[in-house]
Symmetry: C2
Subunit: 328 residues, 2 copies
């Protein structure tokens, strides 16, 4: 089935280069994919030419305004001709099936909610993120969209997360866990205790998950407020660099020879691979009436390509229809 | 200066063995230390004899009731003759300078607050914890005592943490950072934004700290609510085991020879050393009118010994007087 994805060609630290290259790699990898590159037309068209793309599955859509990291959420009003607003507008009008961007997360979330609206029954759209564990990737929701939550919102995060994990991550009958300070159901804030009571009626709820059980993959969908999720997500992303520093210091102290260092590095490279965001590409806003993904500002072409593929998969698998059915 | 510490001989997973051994090792290491071992007297005395201790710097105090992990905070009422209540009572009456325990954290916190009371000016006692970073140990406060906080409480956590880090951790002029979802001061919940405004007037406040900057040691005292702190503390503690699993899998996949594996293990052992809780021993309740430490339930004798030493240091360095002065 042909899928058409709008890609923000003016988002992230390396535009237009990385979004354009990611788009080219995506259409080369998937023959059903059509891409609308949204951004300042002369710049984007020239980049596309420079890279030697001459096919007909990538079009350029003019959007002269650029939203940078220094912009605030107010940009959704003050920059109506930005790539984010034009791209989401195309999606809302049905001219494409999804929008992906490595741009300003806060602006993207607000713009997605405003331009696309919410799915029926959804209290608040949320950002989820895949999370590396020793058992492979799991899902964490929310990771920063909703810093303060109601118990019913946490229940909805769980349900939306379940649908995404089952449909897009290949996790059969995903187990839901509630991040908390202890395993006992009376632990936690009033909000968390009330959410626990709501979640308890669901057969796949495995209870509270403590901090020490996250990396072990003790649940498939970790439910939390956006403050906790954002801190733990970014903390997890920082593990490889911190460990590499500590390991580098240990190698220096122990005076290892070059032939001893080589296997150490080979092993570490493989062990840290699950923490590489490029494999994931980007994360979806769940609960909006459309498919909208956001990636790291520093996204490589490979990360952009993977984000495009994931958005296409979410479209093909009718994830939003499944979410609406699950919430009903 | 002689210091007398009451040690919970009926707390933790390995009582009376580990507390008794830790106490013996502590008095052997520090000639100024006197210890009161608080617990079921016949059992504790016999353990002391079995271990061959025949000095006069350890006494046994009878406390027949045992508070286990299955107990609730209500045990502070229903078990007045427990080691926790008897030990803290001795401290409150001035018969010793501190109380340390590897027992039930929730009970210990409540009992410390009730039996010892608060230091003048303190809104809420807090649990802080040292936290491993690539720059060495830093302090995180709160890590579970106060799940819901007011901005003024976060300010007090910062001030108490500063005093502890400067006095007990040898960190000159400690930098304070506020855990948050972004660096900008308008980020975060209403409570966090208000705390940011309060902290801004302090010269050593370095602003918001994101999850990715915790392991890098971007501040010396990380301030947060107890839900965030508890989850991040336990998450951090789980890193070595998770990495060992991932690294073990990588070694197996790559089919390394024994002589290649050995340097890998040597390097990892050193790199993970900062994450070993035994070196820390235990963490203080700050803000109570006394010195009260809690250690891991699984504390080894070495961990108990280190907790005793840290409590003695906090007494000798007059940390509480400094906290009162700093809050005034």
């Amino acid at each position: 089935m042909p899928v058409k994805i709008a890609v923000d060609a003016a988002g992230g630290d390396h535009y237009p280069n990385h979004p354009v290259q990611g788009a080219i790699d995506a259409v080369n990898a998937d023959g059903d994919l059509h891409i609308l590159l949204v951004g300042p037309e002369p710049l984007v068209s020239e980049t596309l030419r420079e890279k030697g793309y001459d096919g007909d599955r990538i079009s350029v859509i003019e959007a002269p305004e650029v939203i940078g990291m220094e912009d605030s959420v107010g940009a959704i009003k003050t920059k109506p001709n930005s790539s984010i607003m034009v791209g989401l507008g195309l999606h809302a009008k049905g001219h494409c099936d999804a929008f992906v961007s490595a741009g300003h997360t806060g602006v993207l979330l607000a713009a997605s909610a405003v331009v696309l609206g919410r799915l029926p029954g959804v209290m608040r759209p949320t950002i989820s993120s895949v999370y590396p564990t020793v058992k492979g990737f799991r899902l964490m929701v929310d990771v920063g969209a909703n810093l303060e939550v109601k118990p019913e919102m946490l229940l909805q995060f769980a349900i939306m997360g379940e649908v995404y994990a089952a449909t897009e991550m290949g996790i059969h009958n995903p187990r839901v866990g509630l991040l908390n300070v202890g395993e006992e159901e009376e632990k936690g804030t009033e909000t968390i205790r009330a959410a626990h009571a709501l979640l308890k009626s669901r057969p796949n709820f495995v209870g509270n998950i403590e901090g020490r059980d996250i990396l072990g993959g003790h649940a498939d969908v970790y439910v939390c407020d956006g403050l906790v999720g954002n801190l733990i997500l970014k903390f997890g992303e920082s593990i490889p660099e911190a460990m590499q520093q500590l390991i580098g210091a240990a190698i220096a102290t122990q005076g290892l020879a070059a032939e001893q260092v080589k296997p150490v590095m080979g092993v570490l490279k493989q062990a840290f691979a699950p923490f590489d965001y490029q494999a994931v590409g980007g994360v979806p806003f769940l609960g909006v009436n459309g498919v909208s993904f956001v990636g790291h500002g520093g996204s490589s072409p490979l990360a952009i390509q993977n984000m495009i593929m994931r958005a296409a998969s979410m479209v093909s698998n009718h994830v939003n229809e499944k979410i609406v059915a699950a919430l009903a």
